[in-house]
Every structure is written in structure tokens, then in C-alpha cells.
Symmetry: C2
Subunit: 230 residues, 2 copies
Amino acid sequence: MFYTSKDSFHLAVDCVILGFAEDSLKLLLYKRDFEPEKGKWSLLGGFLKREETLDEAAYRVLARITGLRNIFMEQLSAFSKLDRDPAARVVSMGYYSLININDYDSAMLKQYGVEWYAFDEMPDLIFDHDEIVEKSLKRLKRKAKTQPIGFELLPENFTITQLRNLYEAIYQRKLEPANFRRKFMSMGLLDRLPIKDMNSSRKGAFLYAFNKEKYEVLSSLGYSFDVSRI
Amino acid sequence: MFYTSKDSFHLAVDCVILGFAEDSLKLLLYKRDFEPEKGKWSLLGGFLKREETLDEAAYRVLARITGLRNIFMEQLSAFSKLDRDPAARVVSMGYYSLININDYDSAMLKQYGVEWYAFDEMPDLIFDHDEIVEKSLKRLKRKAKTQPIGFELLPENFTITQLRNLYEAIYQRKLEPANFRRKFMSMGLLDRLPIKDMNSSRKGAFLYAFNKEKYEVLSSLGYSFDVSRI
DNA sequence: CCAAAAGTGTTCACGCTACACCCATGC
DNA sequence: GCATGGGTGTAGCGTGAACACTTTTGG
């Protein structure tokens, strides 16, 4: 039959799992307990199975380690260099996901040999995983400007200063506190709670929640989220 | 050995080849001369071979039909639904490329059974190829706003009106001629030639050329191409 | 009262919008 | 001279950038 004459390939998914804590972006890395490259650090990955799509495989890998479902996750791109995995020809689909680091069950960390790393303290990764990480950061930077995906990285309630710290970590530059606040307030997508966070200042800072429903309504009416010019 | 226990898959590439003529965007479609779905229209595609990357496979497919090389081409995303190809499990990587339709050797059209279609006159496509096409249009729309990729679709020399017609086709809305002209002129990336195109008006319209070198210099200095607000 | 973070006000400049207007030329 | 598309001028408005200022409260 026609198709059987064609080459076939192992297909994998590799996930860049991003979180935000202590005012900086982190990613979850895995210390390999199997060959090749046993003992070295890598992204979380796995092989595609016959009865699942790539997206399903990526969610399976994520859920196995973090226990989390219904997470923001997106395809990056395919990585298909001939010798990227020295042991065999493997084509890999890169994914990235954004998780609220507090939701993450830290008991899982030891159990699976995974660890959070800030980007400037990251060990060398195997294969072309550095390239996948780089791509995920670029994507996050681009996407955060026109879609409210930043909130995926924050707890449900947050102060404007926390939100600004997140955007400063993503954009990698300082943002004017006054103008940043006004910009986000003016979009009308943040609900102010009658609660103050008293940890960071004597005056206390109001907590806010992102109103996803309102975003979707406005979005469907043609309004666009745009924080590309802050 | 570890890897041999894993499933393996046929991998394909499918290319959305876009051109611009008669003030509208077109794509190159292929009338299949093999099963499955023989006689129906599809994107140009092919199977990945053992000794090539996905990008190489996409360029090979493009070159075979158009004879063109050094073309703008980019990965869209992977398509991996279980039954997308009824004959076998095939995971496909979608690509899109932008070509100057005049460079295209029209003798090839008949020889390979391919044809240009405007989007509103497009026949139904096989498998999930409509989805791939849709994705390519979305990508083009997004990308054209912050990168000068529109020029890939035009001949080397063009009038400002032609350029505006292209952007109107991409954005799918009318643009103010006066403001559009000023916006592009102010970027300093268009070289005016001492030649007028006399076809479209009595007065004649100057021809321009996109100065890629200047763009790359400015780009590396941190200036950004941005026509997102016209 | 003071320090420090939260939050508000205000000015300025730039760039987009809208539309009026001039230009060149073939008929 | 007039119709037509090419091209310029310009007033008004909105918004981002910068920075001064007020508020709150624990020490």
C-alpha cells in the first residue's frame, strides 16, 4: 500500500513549564533517570502514542508530573534536526505552559526529580532543549503584549505591584508604576476586592482579580487587549 | 533498546503557498493524482524523508512545483488528529510561504496540475487542509503588522497604491491612502526609483523598492517595523 | 514625625485620523 | 477644462512618558 513505503519516525513532545515566583520567571526541569544523558537536566517530555494527538501527549506529560489539568499550554514549533537526539532520529514538538506556581504540589518535586530554576541559574540542558526554552520565552514576550496570558502565572488574587513585577520579568525592563497601573485599570478587566495585602507596605495594597468573563465579552465585541505600549 | 519500544509515525509537510495578484491574495492548490481523495484539491505536500529536516522537506516540496528557492517560508503548527488522513495515521507539519506571483513559471501550472485560487473562490480541500489555510492567513495578518513580510508578495518595484492594496487584502479593510503613504514613507525603508508606472493614472505613480539592507541595519539598532496602527 | 509603598494629577509631545486641497496628464 | 488617481497640508484628538504630588500607616 502507498503509505507503507514511506519513512516513519519517533515523535516526542517537550514541555517548557513556566512559573513566576520571587519576582522572576522560573521553569521546571527534570533530572533524567534514564539513558541517554542520564543524570543531566532536561525539559519534561515523552513520546507520542498511537492513540493520542500531540496536544494530548503534552497534557499527559504535564499532568503526570504536576498533577495539573486545564492549564494554559501551546505548541511552539517542531524540532527535527537529524542528530538532535544522538540515540535515534526523534522529531520533537516543543510546547510551553504557564502555571500558577502556588498550585503546584511541592511534594511532587522530590518524587519525580524535578526542580524550579530561574533563567539565570539554569543548568545546561540536553539536546536542543535550550533552543526550545529560548523559543518559549520569545513567545511569552510576544503573546503577553496582546493577550492576557500573564494572569495564568499569578495567583487568583494579586496586587497591581505584583502584576507589574510579572510584566517587568516578562518584558525584561522596568515599567513606570503610575502609568502601568492606569493602563491596566483603564481596560476594566480587573475587579478590585475589598481586601488589602499588608505584606509589602504599611498602607497596604488592594487585591485584584482578573475578570475572564468580561475579557471574553469585550474580546468578542472586537475590543483588544493591548499592553504592548507601556 | 529503549527507543524501539516506542510508536513511530509517518510525518508530512503541507505548504500554503500565498501570492498576490489583481488586488487579492491567492493560494496555490494541487489537484491530487493519487489516492486517497484522487481528483480533489489539496495543499502541496509530501512526506518527510529520513535524511532531511522538516524545513528541508517543505523547501523540497515548494521547489519541486514552483522551481523557486530562497523563498520566505515558516512553520505554522503540527496537525495530529487521529483520523485526519483516513488512509493512515499521518502527522503533518503545516507551512506557509510567500512568493512573488510573477516569479512563478506559469508553464508549471499545467505540468503539475496546480492552480492559483483567490480565497473566496477556493474549492473545498481534503483532510484538515482548510484549517491549515486558515492558520496561514491568521499568521500572515499578525506577522505583517510588525515585520516587513508583505514585500515578499510584491514584485521588486511597486507603487504605494499597490502596497496599500496588498495591506488592504491582508488586513481585510480599507486604509486611508494619505495616511498609509505617510506611514510607510516615514519609516525610510522605501527607495523611490526615477521611474513612473503610467498604467493606473494619467499623472503616473513613482515606483519604489523595499530596502532590505536598511531594514536590517535599523532593526539591529532596535528600531522596529510597526504598521499595526494604520 | 518619618520612611516607604500605594495611588492620583498634570503637563507635554508625538502620532494617528480625517478631510481639504493641490498636481499632472490624457482625453 | 475636467476627470482621475497621485500626492501634500493641517487641525484636532487621544494616549503614552515623565515626574510631581498626596495618602496611609507602622515604627
